[in-house]
């Protein structure tokens, strides 16, 4: 309860996502220099405690079967929480009218991507944000070089160099450096930056590089006749289907420019070319292939090209709260039914 209260109050200063990460998604919560259990550690302890009670200390009698089922229901709820915490993904699918999008981009998580373009597809080797800790080394059998992470900052500003670049500083680092800024509570206002060192490519390409989110011209490196683009970006989640936007509509409140609702007419496109027409509006998400697609935003550029933004959620633990609630109800009901004769005798 203390953790819940702190985390909720902290949302005002830190922002929703940062507070959630610090208080509820952490194993250790540092209060000044003192380590205290974070949300995950607390829930893990409750789960372990409940599991031990169920496995080692529960009496397996017919009369106690209701209690056992109720315990299982509670464990099921916590298990759903584990699945949601580790496997849920959510992000934005941005698609222009007349175009088809085959992926969505995570709202929060970063990835360092090595991208090779082949036949209209991006072949990507991605290292997750958790692997980008300063001092760490990244390598993979498919690329003949090593990446040493020198610095990752979640919010930066780009500034011109005040000192001449060394021979080992390549790409953008020849003219610019970045400076870390405090993380903005409004996550969309942050721009992450990464400094890293490449080795194993020869004198021409080996050296320090700097990349950041939303870079206009990505950093490329050559490996023989291959060219790899290196990007720091929000994590990409490929979809097994495409969303083709036929039309997007925005309705305004009468006499104002305030949007009342957005609606997207889309085709769900399969790799074999087959299509199914669907409508996604603000209160009518599209559910397909384990994903839920919500209408969230609309945009129109200066050329009149309309764009629809859909929030995509994939959550394998989505049904667990419903299932566990039913199991808990059944458990309590059985317990009550089994104890009716005892109650009657007492009366």
């Amino acid at each position: 309860m203390i953790l819940l209260t702190w985390g909720t109050v902290a949302q005002k200063a830190l922002g929703l996502y940062q507070a959630q990460e610090k208080y509820f998604s952490s194993w250790i919560l540092w209060l000044w220099m003192f380590p205290t259990p974070g949300g995950r550690a607390t829930l893990a302890f409750i789960t372990l405690n409940l599991s031990c009670k169920l496995i080692f200390a529960s009496p397996f009698y017919v009369k106690k079967v209701g209690i056992l089922i109720t315990h299982l229901g509670a464990l099921c709820l916590l298990g759903g929480g584990v699945l949601t915490a580790y496997f849920m993904t959510e992000g934005a699918l941005v698609v222009k009218e007349g175009e088809t999008s085959w992926f969505y981009q995570d709202f929060h998580e970063y990835e360092l991507s090595l991208i090779e373009q082949k036949e209209g597809k991006d072949k990507v080797l991605a290292f997750s944000g958790d692997q980008l800790e300063a001092g760490g080394f990244l390598s993979h059998p498919s690329v003949p070089f090593k990446i040493e992470i020198l610095e990752l900052a979640k919010n930066i500003e780009i500034i011109s160099r005040q000192t001449p670049a060394g021979a080992s500083e390549k790409g953008m680092l020849q003219n610019f450096v970045f400076r870390s800024l405090p993380v903005n509570p409004e996550e969309t206002k942050n721009m992450a930056g990464l400094r890293f060192r490449l080795s194993g490519l020869g004198d021409k390409e080996d050296g320090q590089y700097m990349i950041f989110e939303f870079m206009e011209v990505p950093q490329n490196v050559s490996i023989g006749d291959r060219s790899l683009r290196i990007e720091l970006r929000k994590r990409i989640h490929p979809l097994a289907f495409g969303i083709e936007l036929m039309d997007v509509e925005r309705q305004l409140h009468p006499g104002t420019q305030m949007p009342r609702s957005f609606k997207s007419e889309v085709y769900v496109v399969r790799p074999d070319g087959s299509k199914v027409k669907q409508t996604i509006s603000m209160n009518r998400p599209l559910r397909t292939d384990g994903y839920t697609l919500f209408q969230t935003h609309y945009d129109i550029d200066e050329k009149g090209q309309e764009t629809s933004v859909l929030a995509v959620v994939e959550n394998v633990g989505r049904l667990f709260p419903y299932i566990s609630s039913i199991v808990i109800c059944i458990g309590i009901l059985i317990h009550l039914v089994l104890h009716i004769p005892t109650l009657i005798r007492r009366v």
Binding site: L48, S51, C52, I55, F56, V82, Y86, V95, K96, G98, E99, T100, S101, W102, F103, Q117, E119, G120, K121, D122, K123, V124, L125, A126, F127, S128, D130, Q131, L138, H140, S142, E157, I158, I159, S160, R161, P164, K170, G171, M172, N175, F176, F214, M215, E216, V217, Q219, N220, V221, S222, S227, I236, P238, G242
Partner: protein
């Protein structure tokens, strides 16, 4: 029975502990348009540039378009290194850029006001642009054109012997003036 229960609990914990992530490989299609030709149809080695330009016939385009460069080129003698680079608006501070270029050719920094006074003006289909020609004490010179394009900033730059930058100044201004948005 207790040993069996303990084994069950430990194996579950071990499984959960092992749920980590390594590098992942995936393929993703680029956003495809029914109206635009597929990028795959573009010839090998083609670099998509958001800008068109008329490169003076005396100049040579170089292959090196990797890294931050949209275009690399040189003058007829090959002594000047030219580049066309687009960056985000974070890089648009003119005095910082001018002082950085000054340092590259051995000149000292000057005040922001002096920096802005040293700039010339030009006009292209991308809008007004700033021009600069500086010469250093060691015989090096820089020609620069800076286009402030809202969210982006486009830099055209030539660097090399100052005698040669003086010779190429007219062509450089003509090149900057020819820059325009790419059309299919």
């Amino acid at each position: 029975m207790t040993a069996l229960r303990t084994l069950f609990l430990l194996s579950t914990l071990t499984f959960l502990w092992g749920c980590g992530e390594e590098a992942r490989e995936y393929e993703v299609r680029e956003n495809t348009s029914q109206n635009a030709p597929a990028k795959a149809a573009e010839p090998k080695g083609h670099v998509h540039r958001p800008y068109d330009f008329d490169l003076p016939k005396e100049w040579k385009e170089k292959d090196s378009t990797s890294g931050m460069r949209l275009l690399s080129f040189s003058d007829s003698t090959g002594s000047l290194d030219g580049s066309l680079v687009v960056l985000g608006k974070q890089a648009s501070d003119l005095p910082s850029n001018i002082n950085r270029w000054r340092e590259q050719i051995g000149l000292s920094k000057i005040s922001d006001e002096e920096c802005l006074k040293s700039l010339g003006e030009g006009m292209s289909k991308l809008g007004n642009f700033k021009t600069l020609h500086i010469k250093g004490p060691e015989g090096q010179g820089i020609l620069a054109g800076v286009f402030l394009l809202g969210e982006k900033v486009l830099f055209a730059k030539m660097m090399g012997p100052s005698a040669q930058t003086s010779t190429e100044e007219g062509r450089f201004i003509a090149f900057c003036t020819s820059l325009r948005a790419h059309t299919h």
